[in-house]
């Protein structure tokens, strides 16, 4: 029995991603393949499936087989429930935790300008997208939230760096822009603020079609 077949069987049976180490652990110590061999087998498997309707991908916690996204519209009919549509409040909270982690509830509220409902935090924790990784040493010792590997796995990411870049703040001289909608009076001294630069558009975005 060759290594590639065993890895293939394990990936289909695992019901979740397998890391290189977990794959190595399938084997008894004396026949354990080294990392290099495992990677080679994975590479071969990827090629074997390239023409099929499933693909072998790497996500944060390892490798998994998944159905190629172009088939998702057919599969939606297999599942009675529609995919969950998350509220803006939940997505904004998740975005703040993802980009600003570790973040306290106060940090989230500061950015959003409204109180964060306990339900949202609980839903994020139940989905295992977010967890408490410690407490901030300030009065009240608020919990510090961070995203999990499961979050990355769910969104097909390998690391946080794969998230779309956050729009950056650019310093520009406000007084030069007369067409601003935030009209400033004549007597005001020029102030420096930093409007958002729409740089994301120029950067690569995931091109995969997503079916809503």
């Amino acid at each position: 029995m060759n290594i590639k077949n065993i890895i293939e069987a394990a990936l289909f049976a695992a019901n979740g991603p397998l890391s290189i180490m977990e794959i190595q652990d399938l084997f008894l110590l004396e026949d354990r393949p080294d990392k290099h061999l495992v990677r080679k087998a994975i590479k071969d498997l990827k090629e074997d499936y390239s023409a099929k309707s499933i693909e072998l991908v790497e996500v944060a916690s390892g490798y998994r087989f998944q159905v190629k996204s172009e088939y998702s519209s057919w599969l939606a009919r297999l599942w009675e429930e529609k995919p969950v549509k998350y509220s803006r409040a939940l997505l904004e909270t998740l975005a703040i935790i993802a980009y600003q982690q570790p973040a306290t509830r106060g940090d989230i509220e500061e950015i959003r300008g409204v109180a964060v409902s306990t339900n949202i935090i609980r839903t994020l924790q139940e989905r295992e997208w977010v967890r408490v990784i410690g407490h901030k040493e300030v009065p009240g010792r608020p919990a510090l939230y961070a995203t999990t590997k499961e979050f990355l796995d769910y969104f097909n990411l390998q690391t946080l760096a794969d998230l779309p870049p956050l729009a950056s703040l650019l310093e520009i001289d406000l007084s030069a822009n007369q067409d601003l909608q935030l009209n400033l009076g004549d007597e005001t001294p020029p102030i420096k603020t930093e409007p958002i630069q729409d740089e994301k558009e120029s950067l690569s975005k995931p091109t995969t079609e997503s079916i809503q």
Binding site: F12, A13, N15, G16, I54, R64, F65, Q66, V67, S69, S72, L75, P83, R88, L91, E92, L94, A95, I96, A98, Y99, I111, R112, G113, V114, A115, T118, D153, Y154, F155, N156, L163, P164, L166, A167, L169, N177, L180, Q181, L182, N183, L184, G185, E187, T188, P189, I191, K192, T193, E194, P195, I196, Q197, D198, K200, P206, T208, S210, I211, Q212
Partner: protein, 272 residues
């Protein structure tokens, strides 16, 4: 400011938001004054005051820094009375925002002392910074929502594994851990009065399940009322059964039918 170029995601603008006094309410606010009748609707449409301000800047060309302070203040004070019926916390956040705008306005109106050389920070910059910061994360949230994800854009490809069931014993559970989980639910639910937790004794609820099971598994469409009463259960058993039948009827799960006075009573599940 470049914010107005960004895509808008205040979704329900085109639709009727809700009925206010029987009239469909179609429009989002054009300025900071929100008709009190519609306040609750707007509180739900926007994620908060920052979201509302961003919307006003982008869509209504509102100069948020040049608002009629007196009018707005008066209007917002009206809300304080109304807030008893609304979500206090959220409404309070809008008031804080109104106060902040008023403060900015008043600072702008103060004459600058000519001899003062110290550069003071423009009172508006803090607000602009917060709006920008919020806008960034609004967009990040949209980006995350658009990312391909499991069970919408991708599905795990799995194959059955014949021996899996006998190999993996299901986890053991202590009764206590279930009770503690429920205790937590109850404590949480107590904070929200609209979550009603029924207070029937457990024996009644268990009997309700039993009766429904018998009714749904039975071959006959109707089952005689008396069949649910067991002699060996005595009086208390009869009471439990009776309460269970009443509760099932109240919850609309069964029909109780009697052809004519004093004739046999029949139970029928309200299902096909």
């Amino acid at each position: 400011m470049q914010m107005e170029n960004t895509s808008d995601n205040v979704a329900p603008i085109q639709q009727t938001l809700a009925l206010v006094d029987g009239q469909p309410y179609k429009d989002l606010p054009e300025d900071l004054y929100i008709p009190p009748d519609a306040l609750e609707i707007f509180l739900e449409t926007f994620e908060g005051p920052l979201d509302l301000l961003l919307y006003l800047i982008k869509h209504q060309n509102l100069d948020i820094l040049d608002i009629p302070v007196l009018t707005i203040t008066e209007q917002y004070i009206e809300y304080i009375e109304l807030m008893q019926h609304l979500r206090m916390e959220l409404a309070a956040e809008y008031l804080v925002m109104a106060a902040m705008l008023a403060e900015i306005k008043s600072k702008m109106l103060l004459p600058k002392k000519s001899d003062e050389q110290v550069e003071e920070e423009d009172p508006r910059s803090e607000l602009i910074r917060r709006l920008q910061e919020y806008e960034r994360f609004k967009r990040a949230a949209d980006d995350i929502d658009a990312m391909p994800r499991l069970y919408r854009d991708h599905y795990l490809a799995a194959a059955e594994w014949a021996i899996e069931k006998m190999e993996k014993p299901p986890p053991d559970v202590e009764l206590n851990s279930i009770l503690m989980a429920f205790q937590d639910v109850l404590k949480r639910a107590e904070k929200y009065s609209h979550h009603q937790i029924l207070r029937e004794p457990l024996s009644v609820r268990e009997r309700m399940s039993h009766i429904l099971m018998v009714l749904s598994e039975g071959v006959e469409e109707f089952v005689a009322f008396h069949q649910f009463f067991m002699l060996n259960e005595g009086k208390s058993g009869a009471v439990v059964t009776f309460l269970a039948i009443l509760e099932l009827s109240k919850e609309g799960l069964i029909d109780i039918i009697q052809g004519e006075p004093l004739s046999e009573i029949w139970l029928k599940p309200i299902i096909d």
